[in-house]
Structures are given as C-alpha cells and as structure tokens.
C-alpha cells in the first residue's frame, strides 16, 4: 500500500479543506520520506487518526483506551461552534485518502457530521465511497460499507494496522517488563502467524477428545478406568486454573490502569508535585534495581558449575602433586616398560642374556624398580589426568574472585533496594498525610491498589506453578495410560477412537508450538539485524541478540549469551523496541516488498544523537514510505542535514497553529526547511 494524498475537511484541528501529499518512490526517484513538523498539540497524530478513520472508520487509537468517547470528537470544534451560532446546521467533515496497491489506484472518502447541541458534541457517521481504478483504466465505484471494509482489510488487515504507527506509547509499552509487554508481543506474533484455523482445529479436537474420554471413562473398569478418570480430572483442573489466570491477568491490567489513572489525578495537585516526581524516580530506581538483582541471580546460576570445582581443591592438588612428583622423579613416563621388567623377572634373565638369581641383590633391585613403574595404560592415564587437573587448577584463582565480586555486587544492590523502599515508604506517607484532603485520599486509594496488585501477582505465580505441575502429571498419566492399553491389549473400538483423538490433539498442539517457536526465532533474528544497524557502535560491542522469551517478553543478550536487559539505558531500550516493531511490521507485510507506510510519531524522545542518526539513515531503506511526525526539539538542523544526505527526503509539511483548535498545513520545499528549524548546541 502506498499513500499518495490525504485530504481533510474540518477534521480535528484542520479547519476547512487541507491536504498532504506523501512522498513515494513509484517514480523511481528514491524519495520516500515525508516529514510532518509541528509542536505538540498541533495535529501530527491527527493526521494518523485521519487515515485510520478513513480506512477503518476508527475513532480511537490504542493510546485512547482510557479517553472518554465523548472527548474523542473528530469534527473541528471551532467550526462546530461557528455553525451553532450561525445556521445551526451540522458541520460536514470528511477524510479522503488516495492510495495505490498492486497496480490499482484507490480513492476512499469517508464522512462524518458533527454539531454542537447545547454545548454537547453530537457526531454521526456519514457516507463512505470507494473508487478503484485499475491499470487498464476501468473505474469501479462502491458505496456499501461492508464491501468496502472487506476490500480495505484485504489490502491491509486490521490486526496489522497496529504496526503502521510507532508512537511513544507503543514503544514505551514494549520496553516495560510487564504483562502489558508480553500481551503486546504475543498479540503481534499471533497476528503474524494467521493460525486461527489451526487454533480452532486444536480446540475442536480437544473437545472431541474429552467427549470420547468421558465415554471411555463411563465404560472402563479397574486400573485403566482409574487412569482415564485421573486424566480427565487433571484436565478439568487445568481448564479451571487457566480460566482463573485469564481473569487474574485482566484484574492485574485493570489495577495497573487504575494506578496510572490515580497518578494522573495526583499529578494535577501542584502542592505535592515534588513528592510525586521524587516518587516516580524512586519507583523507576526500584524497578531498575530489581531487574539488576534478577540479572545477577541469573548470572550466579551460571557460575555454580565452576565454583563447585573448588570444593575438591584439596583432592585435586593431592593427586596432581602425586603425579607431578612421580614425573619429577622420572618414574613416569618410565624409561623402561613395565612388561619388559616383568619378563626379565619371570625368565630370570637380563636383556644381555645373563642369568639372574632370585636371591641376588640385582633381583631385589629389579623388583623394587618394577613396583615403582606402571603399565602403559595406567601411565597414559596418569599423564592425561595430570594435564586435565592442571587445566582445572588454572581456574582456581579466577573463580574465587568472581564469586566474591558477584556476591558483593548482589549485596550492594539488595541494600540499595532496601534504602529505596524505605524512601518510597516515607514519601508515600507524606503524600497520604498531605494537607490536601483529595491528595491524601487518592494516595490511600493508590496504596490499596498496589497491595491488591501484589496479591494478584502472587496468586498468578502460584497458579502458574500449579499448572506446570499438573501438566507434568498429565504427561506421566498419559504414558501410564498408553502402557496400560498395550499391557491389557485394550483393542476395543472406543478406546482406539479416544487414543486417535488424543494423538491428533497432541500433534496439532505440537505443530502450533513449533510455529510459535519458529516465528519467535525469525522475528528475533530480524529484530537483531535491524537493532545492530540502529544501535551505536559502543553498544554493538556488548549487545548481541534480541530474543523473544518463552513467556513472550523481550530480552536482549550480551556477547556471552547472558540476559542483559536490566543493564541497558532507556535510549537503548527504545531502539530495541523500534527494531522489534519494524521486524514485526516487515513480517506482517508477508515478506513481499515492505509495501506499507511507516508512521513514526516523535520516536526520538530519549535517543542520543548517534541513535537518531542511525534511524534517519536506515529507516528510509526499510520501508517504501516513511512518514516522520516530529516536534521542533526532535527535528533540528542536524537531523534535517542527515536526512538530506540520504537523498530520500521528498516532502516537508509545517503544522502551524491558527488560534485555539485550528491548525494550518503549510508545505515547504525541502531545500528551504532550514529556515524554520532550530539549531542546537549539542551534537
């Protein structure tokens, strides 16, 4: 899908009829970057909203989840005010999008009417019209919303539109190590896989299995019957727990949302703003420290092996010294083989032929010599072992130091956590006893939510644990069942059907798991490749791979393959999220040319200059169209210069405020943008 022109009339801040033409590469001139520039609140996100509204009749973006429907008006407010005073007619608002896809040009226009009625906004969906023009010049007009919906979804599935827009919120969600992140990722990957059919098949086979097993349970007796019953009870319990988990996840989400809502409310109370800021910082610190502690614990787990060697240091040294001594005494490797000495003794004849008497001193010498030497095999063993033990000994020094260091670091981190928690408690108490009654009330409510959330998380962990145990028991019982079937030669037809259903269910589940694992791997690899291009040189040395963990959380590994997420900066986390989203978006475009416009809404927030530079230079190459929405603090002369160097920058639009609720779109020639951009001292 390539966007060519967006026309808006009275949509959000864009009063009157205004348009934006997007830079695109069809002409082969390589210019596919459009910059839309303006201060916050001037309508950058509205442009994206306009497109979502036009394509899908969507009023909401994911960031609006907690915004009241009443506040989400799409029709320009000042225009509605004017109309309310003037002719009292509803305001006509539409968005028209011209785009092309696989050789066909489309013009889609969607309308909405809006009016103010006694101060309240009333909006009503209007018409929708789609015109398709094929390469051979034929034009088809459609007005049926359902038909239009189907065509648009075929071009760009609703589920994938998530990846159109990279905004700060989405990036932020991905960097949080929380159930929100995991859900975001899990959803993204599932969308990609497009395995709804497989999932339905699995559920249906599961049902079949349960039906047949229930029948089998009714008819079976003895040990076999008992096993079937236990299997069923196990499954029932697991289903119950899984439902509980889903409920808990929702409750935890709600608690987190509620907490954020309360935080927003508290933020409005000036008197406690300092305390709130301090609390935010402390909570972030607590989180960071928690992650550090986790990381250290993981690290410790990898060191137990080497550390254990030291437990038998004495024995190792003793044996090593023993062999070493014998080596020094030249007893090994022996100069004369033991079997030769034994031959001499048995034949009682020296190698020169002289007879040796058993009473002679020479004979005694030779016996003593024999006792000191060893056979070849044992000698080889001793020497090999000596070498191995030498290797083991070489680790000793390092190991002790490493253990000490890591234990000390952990102790420091734990100490820090304790201190931070104490400070947090103090601040919480201060806020709770604030003179502002509303602040105190909100704070108490917040603390309650927090306790509730912790309780929920604990219950969640417990249930997950129980599920793991039950799953293991189920596997055990399944094996026992198959054994029993074989033993007792249970060949009745019902039993065969039940077994077939079971095996098929397992097979489908297994394939599902394989796919999920594969897609995680593919995305991880793709994200890693992109990440390496975007990250600064210094980080490239330490950070090696992005992986999607079993629980769908994002992790980044260092060169040693160890988890490193806890130790990366906010900027690096942002780059990681961007790389991940681009990887998903690329995969969502079904591996064909990445024909999907990429909107990035102020992505530079926490990024260093080097990161911004990498983004500006790399992203135009990833996507067929890049639409960058930026503020004046993010996009300055330096950034413009970098973009210019890439020679892919085609369009620049300035969003200018024209009084409250109104924005004017001004196109500027890319060559002339420097006049409106800031210069900044820092590079």
């Amino acid at each position: 899908m390539i966007l060519s022109k967006l026309t808006m009339k009275n949509f959000r801040q864009f009063r009157g009829t205004q348009h934006i033409e997007f830079a695109y590469d069809l002409g082969g001139n390589g210019k596919n970057v459009t910059v839309i520039f303006g201060e916050n609140g001037r309508g950058k996100t509205s442009i994206f909203r306009a497109i979502m509204f036009c394509l899908y009749a969507e009023h909401r973006l994911s960031q609006d989840s907690r915004v009241d429907e009443k506040e989400l008006y799409l029709v320009n407010y000042p225009e509605m005010e004017r109309a309310a005073c003037d002719n009292k007619k509803p305001v006509d608002c539409f968005v028209e999008l011209e785009f092309s896809h696989k050789g066909t040009n489309y013009t889609l226009r969607r309308s909405i009417l809006g009016m103010l009625d006694e101060g309240e906004v009333i909006q009503q969906p209007g018409d929708v019209l789609l015109v398709q023009r094929t390469k051979d010049g034929n034009a088809i007009t459609m007005r049926n919303p359902n038909e239009i919906d189907k065509i648009i979804n075929d071009i760009l599935d609703r589920g994938i539109r998530e990846y159109f827009l990279f905004d700060g919120e989405k990036i932020e969600r991905l960097t949080r190590a929380s159930s929100e992140q995991r859900k975001e990722i899990s959803r993204g990957l599932r969308n990609l896989l497009n395995i709804d059919t497989l999932e339905t098949a699995i559920k249906a086979t599961g049902r079949l299995k349960r039906t047949l097993d229930a029948e089998l349970e009714r008819r079976s007796t003895g040990e076999f019957g008992r096993l079937i019953k236990q299997l069923r009870e196990n499954e029932d319990r697991r289903t119950e727990l899984e439902e509980k988990i889903t409920r808990l996840e929702k409750e935890i989400d709600l608690a987190e949302q509620e907490k954020r809502r309360v935080d927003k409310e508290l933020d409005k109370i000036r008197e406690i703003r300092d305390l709130l800021d301090a609390r935010d910082n402390l909570e972030a610190r607590e989180n960071d420290l928690g992650n550090q502690a986790k990381s250290l614990l993981l690290d410790m787990g990898t060191r137990t092996g080497k550390a254990s060697l030291l437990l038998v240091k004495k024995s190792i040294n003793r044996v090593f010294d023993h062999v070493d001594q014998r080596k020094q005494n030249r007893e090994i490797p022996s100069e004369i083989r033991k079997d030769l000495i034994e031959r001499i003794l048995s034949e009682k004849k020296c190698i020169c032929g002289r007879e040796i008497s058993t009473e002679s001193e020479a004979f005694s010498h030779i016996i003593r010599w024999k006792n000191r030497t060893t056979d070849v095999a044992t000698e080889d063993s001793m020497l090999n072992l000596w070498r191995c033990l030498s290797n083991v000994k070489s680790h000793f020094g390092d190991v002790v130091m490493n253990i000490e260091t890591i234990l000390q670091r952990y102790a420091l981190v734990k100490n820090d956590i304790e201190t931070t928690r104490k400070k947090l408690k103090d601040i919480n108490n201060k806020i709770a006893s604030s003179e502002r009654a509303d602040a105190a009330k909100l704070e108490k409510h917040r603390q309650n939510i927090e306790s509730k959330r912790i309780k929920l998380e604990t219950e969640y962990s417990k249930i997950k644990e129980e599920l793991a145990i039950l799953k293991e028991e189920y596997t055990k019982l399944s094996h026992q069942r198959e054994e029993k079937e074989r033993e007792e030669g249970i060949k009745n037809e019902l039993s065969k059907r039940a077994t077939l259903a079971l095996r098929t269910y397992d097979a489908l589940e297994s394939v599902h798991n394989e796919f999920t694992q594969e897609i995680k791997k593919v995305i991880g690899e793709s994200a890693t490749g992109l990440f390496q291009e975007l990250i600064d040189k210094e980080s490239q040395k330490t950070l090696s791979q992005i992986v999607v963990d079993d629980d769908y959380s994002l992790q980044i590994l260092d060169r040693g393959g160890r988890p490193f997420l806890a130790n990366i900066s906010a900027g690096q986390r942002q780059i990681m999220s961007i790389a991940f989203i681009v990887a998903l978006a690329k995969a969502a475009a079904k591996g064909e040319m990445f024909e999907m416009p990429l909107f990035m809404d102020t992505p530079f927030g926490r990024l260093s200059y080097e990161h911004r530079k990498n983004l500006l230079q790399s992203i135009p190459g990833f996507a067929s169209q890049w639409i960058l929405l930026a503020t004046d603090t993010e996009f300055r002369k330096q950034e413009a210069e970098l973009l210019k160097q890439g020679r892919q920058w085609g369009k620049f639009y300035l969003l200018k405020g024209q009084g409250a609720g109104t924005t004017l779109i001004n196109e500027l020639d890319v060559a002339n943008v420097f006049t409106v951009l800031r210069e900044d001292m820092e590079g």
């Binding site: 614990l297 137990t304 092996g305 004495k314 024995s315 190792i316 290797n391 083991v392």
Partner: protein, 149 residues
C-alpha cells in the same frame, strides 16, 4: 579413563523433580548439580548407595572434562593413589553416584529444607520464596571454599 559418554548416570528417583527444577536456575544443567552433590558428599565422606531407588537422570556425555577429571581425582585419592581404579568409567560413575546421593541429602538438610514443599516423597521447590536460591547456593559453596583456603 576414557571420559565415556555412553553411561546413563543415575540419581535417586525421588530427586527427579528437584533436578528438573534446579536446572537452568541454580545450575546450568543436571550434570552440574550432580557434580556439586558428589563434591559435597565426598568432602563430608558421605556416600549412600542408590539401591533400587536409582533412576537414569542424564547421559555422561554431558559431563565436562573438568568434572570427569575431578571424579577421577576423588576416586584415586579415596583409593590411596591407586590409579588402576579409574580404568573403568562405569565404576567411577557408580561411586560418584553414591557420593552424589549422600551429598544431595546434605544439601537438602542444610540448605534446601526451607525452600521445599514435599509432594509425596519427592521434594520440590516452593517457588514463592526460592528466588534467591542461586545466591544461597553460591554463598554456601563460597563458605565451604573459605574453610579449605
């Protein structure tokens, strides 16, 4: 002294779950836990035959050369520097199984008892408060090492 990889190393069947749980948590893999237990058992002079409770846990191919070398060293030291005892890896492993069995008992008694729940006769970790176990184990080893040094 071949460092054979085709021996099925056994532990008490009651520790099946524990071995699975401690893997990828306080140790990288099962052979590491086995090694740790064997060392603990050997140091304490506590060996305990598996008897009929033995159950295959992992293949000796996962045992590292360093661990094998230590097994040999322990075996040789125990037998008054007689190197012929390490000729047969099966014998070495069997002896280490006994030490590991004894060592696991020590580990359970002295360290893990606070972090377990027992289901039947198979101990398993109480995950709700065993998050610091890697540190506790490492610390335990460290203290033991300090006694030697």
């Amino acid at each position: 002294m071949n460092m054979s990889g085709d021996i099925r190393v056994k532990t008490d069947r009651r520790y099946r779950i524990l071995y699975n749980e401690l893997k990828n948590f306080v140790v990288k893999d099962m052979h590491e836990l086995f090694f740790l237990c064997a060392c603990i058992g050997y140091r304490a002079g506590k060996s305990k035959p598996l008897g009929s409770n033995g159950e295959g846990r992992f293949w000796s191919s996962t045992i590292t050369p360093e661990e094998y070398a230590c097994f040999y060293a322990m075996m040789i030291e125990e037998n008054d520097m007689n190197f012929s005892v390490i000729r047969e890896d099966k014998t070495v492993i069997a002896r280490m199984e006994e030490y590991a069995n004894g060592g696991m008992e020590i580990l359970l008694e002295e360290l893990l008892s606070d972090f377990l729940v027992t289901s039947g006769d198979e101990p398993r970790l109480d995950h709700s408060h065993s998050k610091e176990l890697p540190k506790i184990i490492l610390n335990f080893i460290y203290e033991q090492i300090l006694e030697i040094v």
